[in-house]
């Protein structure tokens, strides 16, 4: 009962209320709605705590069992502890916390992301091949957008139009049409899934349970 019936009733009541309140601008409904939003933020705060504890547990186990690459786990835990301590002791405005953010976290994260440029170049050289009609279409569209999105595209003309113009057309029409179709599909899917959860048809969020 506690693992299945009560959560299902809770999902039904809260889900139905959140749909109904949207159409009723009464102060009572408004107050409950605000309460639900506050609770959402409180729960999210706890999720951060659970996530941190889970990460610590994962790395401690790796270190204890001396799994391959366990030294990286030591670095991860050291980073976590030192950032927390620096923030608590020195505050977050200036001091060691800000120094570590500016000179360790920022360059490290930026460097990791910038590696994408190298891998994208290598991957596009190997994968962007005109093997079929559809692959050729993708290749041509990709090259036009790549050149059209940089100033060079303004100087290259095809049939009186610059690559920038053609690239803008591709993004404004075929791209928007495809994205709109996907968004409508996702929206309908989300509505259907929400209804299934509210009505108790979709129960996978309860886990495998009993």
């Amino acid at each position: 009962m506690f693992r299945r019936t009560i959560p299902l009733i809770f999902a039904f009541v809260v889900g139905t209320f959140m749909v109904i309140q949207f159409f009723i601008p009464h102060p009572t409904f408004q107050a409950i709605y605000n309460g639900v939003l506050d609770w959402q933020q409180v729960i999210f705060g706890f999720v951060l705590v659970v996530g941190t504890l889970s990460m610590v547990r994962h790395h401690v186990i790796r270190i204890q069992r001396k799994k391959e690459g366990y030294r990286y786990s030591m670095v991860a835990l050291l980073g976590l502890v030192s950032m927390v301590l620096a923030g608590i002791i020195g505050g977050i405005r200036g001091g060691p916390y800000k120094w570590m953010f500016d000179y360790i976290q920022m360059p490290a994260q930026s460097s990791m992301f910038s590696l994408l440029a190298f891998f994208v170049a290598s991957a596009s050289y190997r994968a962007f091949r005109a093997r079929s009609v559809t692959a050729t279409l993708l290749l041509v569209a990709g090259v036009i957008v790549m050149l059209g999105r940089v100033p060079a595209g303004e100087y290259i003309h095809v049939g009186g139009l610059s690559l920038t113009d053609i690239s803008t057309w591709i993004l404004d029409y075929p791209n928007t049409a495809a994205k709109r179709g996907i968004l409508i599909g996702v929206g309908l899917g989300m509505t259907a899934t929400a209804l299934k959860i509210i009505l108790g048809i979709e129960t996978s969020y309860l886990g495998r349970g009993d």
Partner: protein
């Protein structure tokens, strides 16, 4: 080995070296390519340009250091424009890694424009649960941010005394490398009617076209090019315009590699057919 094989099997080390050089050389020796302005960026600029003195703008830093190369130039040039228009700026962050970036940029641009904290700008800091925060701001911002980033009650700031919810906000700008701008459009604009503008990474900007065409966002800046376009409009060249040189050469290099690969592929296929 033969020519097709040579063209099809260029060692990745050479490709990596080519990318590194095509980015580094233009950064060290700027070429000064200009860039045309797209209507999406022009619309953001026009909207900010029409803001009256004393308008209030939320600038939400919804990105982390990984994408700062694309989004920092946008944040800086938007702040320059907003401060020049004498708009009041509420800085906030909806990702845990964002406050460190937001803090530095807001402070530097406010100092450069000689703006006073608490009167002309405030940094509210990070809150968890982004969608709940967006919706709650529609009711009462002080319930999401009772204090600023440094623990001062927001009621103590003259700027915040006239701001309760989206009705007092003239524009929301989300700078993001995630799907966050879509939520801003769906919640802040669709539910509460707040105008929303977006600065997105080039990858994420693709998602913004339907929202722009439907009028859910006033416009958007896409990738480094978007930042360069806005810098051009504001008339203050920065990292965006500087970066476009490197991006141009890098894209040309990548297209060259794709062409080389395809020439090799075509020659090999023809040889295969004839044999």
């Amino acid at each position: 080995m033969g020519l097709p094989n040579a063209l099809l099997n260029i060692d990745r080390k050479f490709i990596f070296a080519g990318v590194a050089l095509s980015i580094a050389i233009p950064l060290l020796n700027p070429i000064g390519f200009g860039t045309s302005v797209t209507r999406q960026v022009q619309n953001v600029y026009d909207f900010v340009e029409k803001l009256e003195e004393g308008s209030t703008v939320i600038l939400s830093f919804d990105y982390e250091p990984s994408t700062m190369a694309e989004l920092d130039p946008m944040a800086r040039t938007l702040l320059k424009h907003l401060f020049r228009k004498k708009a009041r700026v509420l800085g906030m962050a909806l990702l845990a890694g964002a406050p460190g970036i937001a803090e530095s940029i807001l402070q530097e641009e406010a100092d450069a424009a000689e703006k006073e904290y608490g009167i002309e700008w405030v940094f509210l800091g990070y809150v968890p649960a982004p969608t709940a925060a967006m919706l709650r701001i529609g009711e009462d911002i002080s319930m999401v941010y009772p204090t600023d980033q440094y623990g001062t009650l927001i009621t103590e700031f003259p700027l915040m005394r006239s701001v309760k919810n989206y009705r007092d906000i003239d524009l929301v700008i989300s700078l993001s490398s995630t799907a966050m701008p879509q939520f801003w459009a769906q919640y802040a604009h669709d539910r509460y009617g707040a105008p929303v503008a977006v600065g997105a990474t080039a990858v994420e900007a693709i998602r913004m076209y339907p929202y722009h065409d439907s009028g859910q966002i006033v416009g958007f800046l896409g990738g480094l090019k978007g930042a360069a376009e806005y810098e051009t409009l504001v008339g203050q060249p920065g990292e965006g315009i500087k970066g476009m040189d490197a991006q141009t050469i890098a894209h040309l290099f990548m297209v060259l590699m794709i062409v080389i690969g395809n020439v090799g592929h075509v020659i090999e296929r023809r040889r295969g057919k004839s044999s």
